[in-house]
């Protein structure tokens, strides 16, 4: 069995899976078709619902991926062939030539500046030009140029141009580069090729392609982006004017079988349209009128409904409508013609139309599926199983991200970790078999030595030397106090210079090093490794950024740039002088997990970990396993839940590695990642390395305005109660008329979020009832139908079966009365504009899913936050959906947010994957630059404990002295800045270090 994995597609899902796998003991080949990883996420401006800058949060993951010792990045590559069986696949990967030697390229951009051939920039969706030699985007990984063979003049007519080769200071251009075939042996394959935005050219009514000011949402992302074609100034294509009236058209290429052939919902477009409207309003110099034309507003995720409400407050207009056409007006303006809800034709004039295009499978991905021999579903996405949502039809081949169904980033990231877990489970015997670990010599103790500082000044070809007088800077450096060696290098990061630098450190007996070159963000770890190779602690190092922040930004003022470079070197020398060797902190791992909650999520996590050989204690407060799934009848696909549930329960029950504790709760806990100690209600004390919380949620009991006679009239039931009736084979076929009320307790001021599952659940149930008795009249009273993704099929089926949908709104709630013992439901019909009356024999309430009130107490035990609605709050909504800011604690299932079974399962798998990152190791690394309390100066005021986002600082009320738990500290320094007594320092970033840099900067020369 192989210990390596092939991942196809460098989307955020592929990158996350690669990191999870590589960090837990598997070697990863990451195959990416283009010249750099990052996928669609790298093209986004901001992400909902936090408005995080997409590049900012993505970039660190990409850099980590690019530098990972156990990730082999194969860009410009495609899968060619696959043979073998699960555990032992043989694959061929074809890598196209880059024509730029990535080991030499310093990404200075001289080549692109000189390249005479302008080409449409695909990254910016052809809205501007790049050169035939190009960097995919500024933060791409690997940060290396590539030549586009289609457009390069030399490659098409050798001898004709070659400008890039002439100017390249690193001699990196290689026109003779050829394609190569990599024959790899891997244990498993993961598909993460992402999606393609729907191309609306086929939809003539939108005017896309004909009318310049009709753009797709992806194009609009680039228009908003500071790194886009108009550097974030938001200009419309026809005349570069800033639009003041913008319209968003929803469901372009989604929920539209007739015109676009895509009947599914793309799940993310409602939210991104709202986000774009909000961001555009923020961008606009004047008041921007933003209108969104939609059928149903689908804001079904965590924090989404609140975002929607905020957008309304900020003046975004929402028009429930059907758009008929977009037509041109004078001055390149556009007219949106639409039918409003009453069917009246309306016209709005706007400056720009954004088409909220859906997600599609790409042709390439279909070919890939064919090559891998995995089945597609009716929407051409990869077919998966609701009880194992990352498995394909072929064993050993897994899938994650939007290629199996349109989904948002967090769901893709969850699936990435879930897929990593399934692969880890399968290959767990080969863990750490093919991975490498960096080896370094023992470190010299320099504590007692006087500072001997070496300064290496980089020319970076002519990138620095072309502006800054590097010779002058090098000579100047030699005169600085404690500097015993200084040298100028052509390329400090080239392998020979690196080797020579290590030798110099040893020969000269240097104990501090400064490199004046590019940015520490990309090169610090490389130079720090060089220090370690030379037997020095890596924290005895500083960089002076004389390229990105000097020569590149003062190109026309060499004198000032040289002066600045000297200042920067002097500051770095001053800072490194006081630097101390820091320990490479590690925490020994107790290889056992605690899973709290015995529902489907908790059981899935427990099994996933137990199957990898880790001992698991599963704690459930009730006296039986299964949680809410015990009451569920069908998944939305119509698959019976009970059978699967019973199978899972018996697996848990009989598993050797799982200790089951029913009727038990958690009392208190101490410790941190790698070594928790938890006390249970039965008095047991558990030692464990990780904690997974999967404590579930529960259905709301309707009250007040939303009670609808529930509890007093026996014909009023909740969804789960009807499921239970179906499970116990009570004859439901005799019902003549059934009415469902949606959003009972959801999306109301008291409970402002959408419960995500109820629309699909209610409609699936209605369809089942209708099939039991086709004569049954069924009416669905809804606010917005939110059958997101492929669940739209259920909605479609319901309508085709004759189930009727009537919309109500919050100002006009349905009225439910009892008249002569007969149930009566009144509702205002928006289309017919009159009140409709029903006398159903069954009224089903689609009630909200709420958090258990006890979740709050459990969160406190493990120092995890909860949100206003009582759900657990993950570390980052987008990229860390199952982690907490506190390391070693994870979450899954309904305690995070309402979600259907398949999403709970994926999340549980993901949480288990994140937990295995810890459990797979003997030691886990911890931050070295941490805070430290000087007990003599501490007065015990407790300020630091309030500022620390990781709860790393605690105050001992007996001694009145605070202390820092090093393994929890991330080194942000918030406590340091808040401490009036100067009693907390941040190692190597103490006030002295920063003051030394300030003083050096201000020193008169």
């Amino acid at each position: 069995m192989k210990g390596s994995v092939l991942i196809i597609g460098g989307s955020i899902a592929g990158v996350q899976a690669a990191l999870d796998l590589a960090d837990s003991g598997f070697y990863v080949h990451l195959v990416e078709m283009t010249s750099g990883i990052g996928g669609a996420m790298s093209q986004l401006d901001k992400t909902f619902p936090t408005n995080d800058c997409s590049a900012c949060i993505l970039s660190p993951k990409l850099v980590e991926c690019g530098r990972h010792l156990n990730i082999n990045l194969l860009t410009l590559s495609e899968l060619e062939e696959i043979n073998g069986e699960p555990g032992n696949f043989k694959v061929k990967v074809r890598q196209h030539p880059r024509y730029v030697d990535p080991t030499k390229c310093i990404s200075c951009g001289e080549c692109a500046a000189k390249c005479p051939k302008k080409v449409d920039d695909l990254f910016n969706l052809d809205m501007n030009k790049r050169k035939a030699i190009y960097l995919k985007y500024p933060q791409t990984v690997p940060l290396k140029y590539a030549i586009d063979p289609q457009h390069c003049i030399w490659l098409n007519k050798p001898g004709k141009c070659g400008a890039c080769a002439k100017v390249c200071p690193a001699d990196a251009i290689n026109f003779d580069d050829t394609e190569s075939i990599h024959e790899l042996e891997v244990g498993a394959v993961l598909m993460s090729p992402g999606f393609r935005p729907y191309n609306p050219e086929k939809l003539d009514f939108t005017g896309y392609g004909r009318l310049k000011n009709v753009v797709t949402s992806m194009e609009f992302e680039r228009l908003l982006s500071p790194s886009g074609p108009c550097t974030g100034h938001m200009e419309r294509p026809s005349d570069g004017k800033e639009p003041t009236r913008v319209a968003w058209l929803q469901c372009v290429g989604s929920r539209d079988e007739n015109r676009s052939c895509n009947s599914y919902c793309s799940s993310v477009c409602c939210m991104y349209a709202i986000k774009q409207a909000v961001i555009a309003k923020e961008h606009a110099a004047s008041d921007l009128a933003a209108s969104i034309y939609y059928m149903d507003m689908r804001t079904h995720g965590k924090g989404f409904e609140a975002y929607f409400e905020r957008a309304k407050d900020q003046g975004v207009q929402f028009r429930r409508s059907r758009v008929h056409s977009i037509t041109p007006l004078a001055e390149d303006n556009l007219q949106v013609q639409y039918a409003d809800e009453e069917g009246t034709l309306q016209r709005d004039e706007v400056d720009l139309v954004v088409l909220s295009v859906g997600m599609e499978m790409t042709t390439k991905s279909q070919e890939l599926a064919h090559l891998l021999d995995v089945e597609l579903n009716e929407n051409n996405f990869i077919k998966t199983d609701p009880f194992n949502p990352v498995a394909t039809s072929r064993p050993g081949i897994f899938v994650c991200g939007a290629v199996s169904e349109p989904k948002d980033i967090p769901q893709s990231v969850v699936e990435a970790s879930a897929a990593a877990l399934e692969i880890e489970k399968m290959l767990s015997d080969s863990r750490w078999q093919e991975t490498q670990e960096a080896q370094f010599p023992a470190e010299r103790n320099v504590f007692a030595e006087a500072p001997k500082i070496g300064v290496f000044v980089c020319s970076c070809g002519i990138n620095i030397a072309g502006v800054v007088d590097v010779k002058d800077v090098t000579e100047y450096s030699a005169q600085l106090p404690d500097v015993v060696f200084s040298q100028n290098n052509l390329f400090s990061c080239s392998q020979d210079t690196i080797d020579q630098m290590a030798k110099t450190i040893q020969e000269q007996g240097l104990n501090r090093v400064v490199v004046a070159s590019c940015t520490p963000r990309t090169h610090e770890s490389l130079f720090q490794e060089t220090l370690r190779d030379a037997g020095l602690n890596k924290y005895l190092f500083e960089m002076a950024n004389i390229r990105d922040q000097d020569s590149w930004v003062h190109q026309n003022d060499p004198e000032a740039a040289t002066l600045k470079a000297k200042d920067l070197v002097r500051m770095a020398v001053a800072r490194v002088r006081g630097a101390n060797a820091l320990p490479y902190n590690q925490v020994a791992v107790t290889k056992a997990a605690l899973v709290i909650g015995g529902g489907m999520a908790g059981m899935t996590s427990a099994l996933a970990l137990a199957n990898q050989g880790f001992p698991v204690t599963l704690v459930e407060k009730a006296d039986k396993l299964g949680g809410n799934a015990n009451r569920l009848f069908h998944t939305w696909q119509g698959i019976e839940v009970r059978q699967q549930l019973e199978k899972t329960i018996s697996k848990v029950f009989y598993h050797d590695n799982i200790e089951l504790k029913l009727g038990t709760t958690v009392e208190k806990a101490t410790g941190s990642v790698g070594k928790f100690t938890t006390t249970l209600s039965d008095g047991a004390k558990l030692e464990h390395g990780t904690t997974l919380m999967a404590v579930g949620g529960k259905p709301l009991i309707p009250t007040g305005d939303h009670q609808y006679l529930y509890g007093s009239n026996k014909q009023v039931k909740t969804l789960l109660e009807v499921d239970e009736m179906l499970l116990t084979d009570i004859n439901m076929g005799s019902i003549k008329q059934a009415v469902f009320i949606h959003c009972v307790g959801s999306r109301i001021p008291e409970q402002p979020y959408c419960s995500r599952v109820c629309c699909t659940h209610a409609i699936e149930q209605a369809v089942h009832l209708k099939k039991l008795n086709p004569e049954m009249d069924i009416f669905m009273l809804y606010r917005d139908i939110r059958t997101y993704g492929q669940r739209e099929a259920v909605y479609k089926e319901a309508r085709s079966l004759g189930i009727l949908f009537i919309r109500y709104d919050l100002d006009n709630l349905p009225q439910v009365n009892e008249e002569d013992g007969q149930l009566q439901v009144l509702v205002q019909d928006h289309v017919l504009l009159r009140q409709v009356k029903f006398n159903p024999d069954l009224l089903v309430l689609a009630t909200a899913v709420v958090a258990h009130p006890e979740t709050k107490d459990l969160a406190k035990v493990y120092k995890c936050p909860i949100n206003q609605e009582g759900f657990l709050l993950e570390a980052h909504m987008k990229l860390r959906p199952v982690d907490f800011a506190t390391d070693g604690v994870y979450l899954a299932g309904l305690c995070h947010y309402p979600k259907p079974l398949e999403e709970s399962i994926a999340q549980a798998q993901a949480a288990a994957s994140r937990a295995s990152l810890i459990l797979a190791r003997d030691m886990v690394p911890a931050e070295s630059i941490t805070a430290e309390v000087d007990p003599r100066k501490c007065v015990g005021c407790g300020m630091c404990t309030k500022l620390c986002p990781y709860n790393a600082t605690t105050l001992d009320l007996d001694t009145m002295v605070a202390s820092v738990e090093t393994s929890l500290c991330k080194g942000c320094g918030a406590c340091v800045a808040g401490c009036r007594s100067d009693a907390i320092i941040l190692k190597n970033i103490a006030n002295e270090h920063l003051m030394a840099a300030v003083d050096a900067a201000l020193m008169e020369m």
């Binding site: 110099a285 004047s286 015990g940 500022l947 001694t959 009036r980 007594s981 103490a990």
Partner: protein
């Protein structure tokens, strides 16, 4: 005033007699007329030395943390604090009670160990202002609810309202914070117009930058770096004050105007969101510097920006230990195109 003094003496004596408390913090007559000193009564007999008059200007909570600590037995590191430590009584007006709230929040005093008696406050008198009018020769003072009477001065009496300390004249929370008081003595309180509470600060704010610098540099040029202001402040309890610290040395030790200025700026900043405008610093300053203007400016901004007032809501997090996503940020420099210049 006399009634309140009588009440304090009586309650302090009772509490000490019954051993409910081991000490009571109040004031006794100072050695000069119109002065008082902190006084710790440790028996019912000593409680009779306690006085209450309009010259009780030094905030008594200043000595509370150290007094509480003095009752703690010597311990080895790691030994827990005993549960049944002696309690201390203290009589506090509005501003002092708010300091108590801060000290509770910052763990400098344990609520369990403090018997706090809330006092009504009609404002304290400004000795300097009085002396300016009466001359230095006053030998005795007596007071009624409205007036002060002097023996030996050039003026026989003054209206209390005319010689109020500026912090009292602008005080809008003279009532003790009821939620942390053990008991409260009822009585009349000063009733100032809230609109003018920051008038002193607004007067400086109205100047231009040069004018403000002239004010600041001349006001603080008289400072002799005696640190009486810091020592009188109930918020200053760091074991090593930044001004005394050698590693790092934030402030030079001599009489350099830059060092002196930075000392005062940083001292005021350390009181941000915590200062209750008790006026102890000014009362203690031998040079008569208007030190409060800095802390009052910060008070004003904390109210304006974070809707918070030191100690008024005793269990609310202190403003610099918390945040709101909607905190104002008009000072943030914006890139020029987002200011709408091109429209």
């Amino acid at each position: 005033m006399n009634k309140i003094g009588e009440h304090i003496r009586q309650r302090a004596a009772e509490l000490l007699e019954s051993r409910e408390i081991d000490a009571f913090i109040g004031f006794r007559q100072g050695s000069l007329p119109m002065t008082t000193q902190h006084y710790v009564a440790r028996s019912a007999a000593e409680a009779q030395n306690l006085v209450w008059n309009s010259f009780c200007v030094l905030n008594p909570t200043n000595i509370l943390p150290s007094l509480l600590k003095s009752f703690e037995p010597p311990r080895r590191p790691g030994d827990p604090l005993p549960d049944d430590l002696p309690k201390v009584g203290i009589a506090v007006t509005g501003c002092w009670s708010r300091n108590l709230a801060i000290q509770f929040q910052e763990n400098q005093a344990s609520r369990k160990r403090v018997i706090a008696i809330g006092l009504p406050c009609t404002g304290m008198s400004d000795r300097r202002q009085i002396l300016a009018q009466t001359g230095e020769m006053v030998t005795e003072v007596s007071e009624t609810a409205e007036d002060l009477y002097f023996t030996g001065g050039t003026v026989a009496s003054l209206k209390r309202t005319e010689i109020l300390r500026p912090n009292c004249a602008s005080c809008v929370h003279p009532q003790p914070v009821a939620r942390i008081m053990t008991e409260v003595i009822e009585g009349d309180c000063i009733n100032n117009d809230a609109a003018g509470r920051f008038a002193e600060v607004e007067e400086i704010e109205a100047k231009d930058s040069d004018g403000r610098w002239d004010w600041f540099s001349s006001e603080f040029s008289a400072c002799i770096r005696c640190y009486s202001c810091r020592n009188a402040c109930p918020l200053c309890y760091c074991p090593t004050c930044f001004v005394d610290d050698a590693k790092p040395q934030w402030v030079g030790k001599g009489l350099n105007s830059s060092d002196t200025s930075i000392f005062h700026i940083l001292r005021a900043y350390h009181c941000a969101g915590r200062c209750t405008d008790c006026g102890s610093c000014e009362a203690a300053c031998p040079m008569g510097l208007r030190l409060r203007l800095l802390t009052k400016k910060l008070d004003k901004d904390v109210v304006d920006m974070f809707d918070s007032e030191a100690g008024v809501e005793p269990f609310k997090p202190l403003p610099l230990s918390t945040y709101s996503q909607a905190d104002p940020q008009p000072f943030i420099v914006q890139p020029s195109h987002s200011k709408g210049e091109d429209s």
